[in-house]
C-alpha cells in the first residue's frame, strides 16, 4: 500500500519560531510537493521538487523554504513563523513516468501559529 507520511498531525508554534514539517514517501517517487489548504482557496502549491536537491517555487513560496537531501524525504521550513501561516499543510508525491500524474497525499499537518 502506497504511503505518504507527515511528521505531525497537529502543531502549535509561536510567532518567530523556526518550524520544520517533514514528509516521507515509500513509493520511490521522483516528484514531491508541499501545498497549503485554506477554506475557499483550495490547494495552493508552495514548493515542488522533481529530484534530490532540486526544487522549484510554486505559487506562494514567500516565507517558506524546502530541503530534499534524500529521495524519500521532503522538508518544508518556515524560517520565522507568522500568524498568517496558520493553515493545513499537505505533502504529496508522484512518479515522473510517462502518463503517471497521480499525486498521493499525506494526511496533512494542521499548523497553528500564535
Amino acid at each position: 500500500d502506497v504511503k505518504v507520511t507527515q511528521s505531525s498531525r497537529y502543531l502549535v508554534k509561536r510567532t518567530g519560531e523556526k518550524v520544520f514539517l517533514e514528509c516521507v514517501q515509500d513509493m520511490d517517487h521522483e516528484n514531491m510537493f508541499w501545498y497549503r489548504q485554506d477554506p475557499g482557496l483550495g490547494l495552493r502549491l508552495i514548493y515542488f521538487s522533481y529530484d534530490v536537491k532540486m526544487k522549484e517555487k510554486g505559487d506562494i513560496p514567500e516565507g517558506y523554504s524546502v530541503s530534499r537531501e534524500k529521495k524519500e524525504r521532503f522538508s518544508l521550513i518556515l524560517e520565522s513563523a507568522s500568524t498568517n501561516q496558520t493553515s493545513m499543510y499537505l505533502c504529496a508525491s508522484s512518479s515522473s513516468g510517462t502518463g503517471q500524474h497521480e499525486q498521493y497525499f499525506g494526511p496533512g499537518t494542521r499548523l497553528t501559529v500564535t
Binding site: N31, Y35, G42, L43, H101, E102, F105, P107
Partner: protein, 113 residues
C-alpha cells in the same frame, strides 16, 4: 491563464440525488483533468481523471463530462450517498512538460439521508 475555476463552493444533496460540480479553465494547453476527493482528516485522493480526447468518462456512480470547446468539465455523482460527503477538487495540467497540478478551490458536498 493558469487558473481553474470551480463551483459551487458548497453543495447539499439528498440521498439518491445527483451531485454536479463544475470547473472551467482558460489554458488550452491543459490536457489532463483529474478530480480528487478529500474526507475530513485525510489528504485528497484521486477519484477519476479524463483527457480531452474523450467527452465523458464513467467509473461506477462517478462521471466526468468534458466540453473542450467551452473549456469546461464537470463531475456528476449519480445516486449520491451519505458516504460521498467530502470535499471535491478539480485540477488540470499540461502533462507533456510538467507534473504540477493546478487545483480548483474545492466543493464541500453534504449528502443527507
Amino acid at each position: 491563464q493558469q487558473q481553474v475555476k470551480q463551483s459551487p463552493q458548497s453543495l447539499i444533496v439528498q440521498k439518491g440525488g445527483i451531485s454536479i460540480i463544475n470547473c472551467a479553465y482558460e489554458n488550452t494547453a491543459f490536457d489532463y483533468f483529474p478530480w480528487y476527493q478529500q474526507f475530513p482528516g485525510k489528504g485528497p485522493a484521486l477519484l477519476i481523471a479524463i483527457r480531452p480526447d474523450v467527452s465523458e468518462k464513467k467509473e461506477g456512480r462517478f462521471t466526468i463530462s468534458f466540453n473542450k470547446s467551452a473549456k469546461q468539465f464537470s463531475l456528476h455523482i449519480m445516486d449520491s450517498q451519505p458516504g460521498d460527503s467530502a470535499t471535491y477538487f478539480c485540477a488540470a495540467n499540461r502533462s507533456y512538460n510538467t507534473d504540477k497540478l493546478i487545483f480548483g478551490t474545492g466543493t464541500r458536498l453534504q449528502v443527507f439521508p
